[in-house]
């Protein structure tokens, strides 16, 4: 679970925080929306990859 969290943070930071700036309320909201969706999608991707991979190797 620690590695999944680290990877998610790394990928979503790269996608949602392109220009690191001081925290601003307007861009702040766009960022949290992006991070929240990115978290859900990365978990979904992880589950999809697990399913396909396990189906192949077993």
């Amino acid at each position: 679970a620690q590695e999944l969290m680290n990877k998610t943070n790394e990928k979503c930071f790269a996608k949602c925080v392109t220009k690191p700036s001081t925290s601003l309320s307007s861009s702040e909201e766009a960022r949290t929306t992006c991070l929240s969706r990115c978290l859900d999608r990365y978990m979904e991707a992880f589950n999809l990859v697990s399913k396909v991979y396990i189906a192949r190797v077993s």
Binding site: E3, L4, K7, K11, C12, K15, C16, C34, R37, C38, D40, R41, Y42, E44, A45, F46, L48, V49, S50, V52, Y53, I54, R56, V57
Partner: protein, 66 residues
């Protein structure tokens, strides 16, 4: 230990296929093409690994009979 290696592979594949298939901003769901890209990415990577192993064995065979 086989369990740990399996988990490590899943992390590696998720990371690699995410970078290859998810190029836009994350949305509320995957598009159809993103989803099939992710699934195909895993399958094609496993095909690649198998192909490489066979290719190396093939070259060894050839080298032996020369």
């Amino acid at each position: 230990q086989a369990q740990a290696r399996l988990h490590q592979s899943i992390h590696t594949f998720t990371s690699m296929c995410w970078d290859k298939c998810i190029t836009g901003t994350p949305s509320t769901r995957f598009s159809r093409s993103e989803e099939s890209c992710l699934a195909n990415c895993v399958d094609r990577f496993l095909d690649t690994s198998l192909f490489m192993v066979k290719q190396i064995e093939h070259q060894r065979e050839q080298a032996r009979y020369q």
